[in-house]
Symmetry: C2
Subunit: 343 residues, 2 copies
């Protein structure tokens, strides 16, 4: 990725260590892992192996971390932290993982987190079912929370996820630059779940509305930053870093911020990138490499870093409503981490 | 299908007209249709068209009918019939429809209800997403019901649906006769949702436990009958009747009751059927036609009718716990309908 020298003000240039943030809610994160390890069992050993592959293959668990830090940051008394917050964290990770499994079917992806995907290793049919199984587990968790507002929020997230992907599919290989649509798709694909995770804990904690709204905005901005950095890493990071092939979005006809900045810039670069996309040359190695070079050299990367930085900064501003605490600081550090992550 | 002369006792030989049963809960069924017509809207007209195709392409709405009749049959006072029962009926149909859309991806089916499937007309990616969207809508409905027991029941149904399909996939082309496994798969694929629909209304009505349990058993037995008749129609009915190709299960390596009776019978028929399945000859027209002839002529159809009839009879027996009413009678007639249906 381009040097952090181009980071906007108000964002830490130091590398934030995720494990330091995890330490603050270490016990709770342990309970989340335990839930995932012990509840996803099936009387079919084959299915159980698959579930293990999906969950224990790594994954940074950023979404459960957001849930737990935000829940702690808004808990009226620390000892009152409840079982429901753990289920909320589990639920958030389950929805994320289920959507990854179906995304891999949709994108015909063969590698995820450096491992073969289910659709590649076995077949698409099994991947559809495994995703459904995880969504079903998420529905059961959601049910246990028994809070109508939270249930409504996560129901909306599920709808947003699908609507975002369908919009993306319908826009495949489109070189029309529409930033509003890009934002809507990014909310659907990513930020909607981040926002659900960041403010549902505050709802369970009975917080006032302005706290709840601010935490929702924190998650929404953080999620947008996360998605934009994801789109950036598709252009800048190596397969070793991300566990996914470089330029995978372009190959799938998914046109994101780094390309959009070039396309709206006009001139020779825009014309050539448009040609590579329109002609489907980006489906081949040669075409995708040329497109990536245009994006990197033409300023697409710098402008995307700036855009992501704006959302990271906004997310931190939303935290001002919270009383000072180590959890509040950790949420701010998480914005830095998401902005600076390289994998 | 074989003549009804072979029907077990206690089952009506007269053709039950579904529309007579629907008439009893006509207003409520109208509200279900209205919900499906007005709530499944999307800001993307393409998605909205797809949703319409999926829902307005027919479908007998048997599951909402079970929910409404069973809810009415157990309502303490008829005027107290609530909005929640309508949502329960909608939810049940949504889960059914979502699972059909994903089943068509899994089975690579090209025709459903006489229409091209989404995966055939567009692609598998869109079908995965459309199924997810419908499951998400179902989760939102489930959430609105706000009853922890009902939510748990439907959460279990979602898990059962996937587990049933995964078991079926793992047993593809297996000629080992295992009736227990066949029952478990049939519960997962079909009867679990029937049972959820048949007893959740009684839970919302605050009925005593034995009423709730009896209605659950009614749905479970009716669902098993329904699935067995489905497996039978795959062998006996024409594509015009079912809207699906004849012998589709065999072509997909799904070995069901009609084949299992032949396989366990031993002798020449069993050996030849096993050979046709083992050699994958059933993937071709010639092989599947020979297999169907063996099943029909070898008694597979008769024995399957008998098995389905047993479950239909059991389902009717479960109704004895209910006070007499037109709704109770309609539920009994529904068992006859499911047993005698030819499409």
């Amino acid at each position: 990725m381009k040097s952090v020298a181009s980071l906007p003000n108000n964002l830490s240039e130091e590398k934030t260590d995720l494990s330091t943030l995890v330490k603050l809610v270490e016990d709770e994160m342990g309970l989340v892992e335990e839930w995932l390890r012990t509840n996803l069992i099936d009387d079919n050993p084959f299915v159980e192996d698959l579930l293990k592959q999906v969950f224990l293959a790594g994954g940074k668990r950023i979404r459960p971390l957001i849930v737990l830090l935000a829940s702690r940051a808004t808990a009226p008394r620390q000892e009152e932290f409840s079982r429901l917050h753990i289920i909320l964290a589990v639920l958030t990770e389950l929805i994320h993982t289920a959507s990854l499994v179906h995304d891999d079917v949709i994108d015909k992806a063969s590698v995820r987190r450096g491992q073969e995907t289910i659709n590649k290793r076995w077949n698409e049919r099994l991947a559809v079912l495994m995703g459904d199984l995880l969504f079903a587990q998420a529905s059961i968790c959601l049910a246990r929370i028994m809070n109508p507002t939270v249930v409504g929020i996560y129901g909306q997230v599920l709808g947003d996820l699908c609507a975002g992907e369908i919009k993306q599919m319908r826009q495949q290989f489109s070189t029309t630059v529409d930033w509003e649509l890009y934002k809507i798709k990014s909310v659907g694909k990513t930020a909607s779940l981040f926002a659900a995770g960041s403010h549902s804990g505050a709802i369970l904690n009975g917080c006032p509305n302005n706290t709840i709204q601010s935490l929702k905005d924190y998650g929404l901005n953080l999620g947008l930053c996360f998605q934009i950095v994801d789109d950036l890493l598709d252009v800048t990071a190596s397969e070793e870093q991300t566990g996914k092939p470089v330029g995978g979005d372009l190959r799938n006809g998914v046109i994101t911020a780094p390309s959009m900045f070039i396309l709206e810039g006009g001139g020779k670069n825009a014309a050539r990138l448009k040609e590579l996309i329109d002609s489907r040359a980006v489906l081949e190695d040669g075409g995708v490499q040329e497109a990536l070079k245009i994006i990197r050299d033409g300023g697409g990367v710098d402008k995307t870093i700036e855009l992501a930085g704006d959302y990271a900064r906004k997310s931190k501003e939303c935290l001002s409503v919270l009383p000072d605490s180590q959890y509040k600081s950790a949420l701010a550090s998480l914005s830095d981490y998401v902005m600076n992550r390289t994998c």
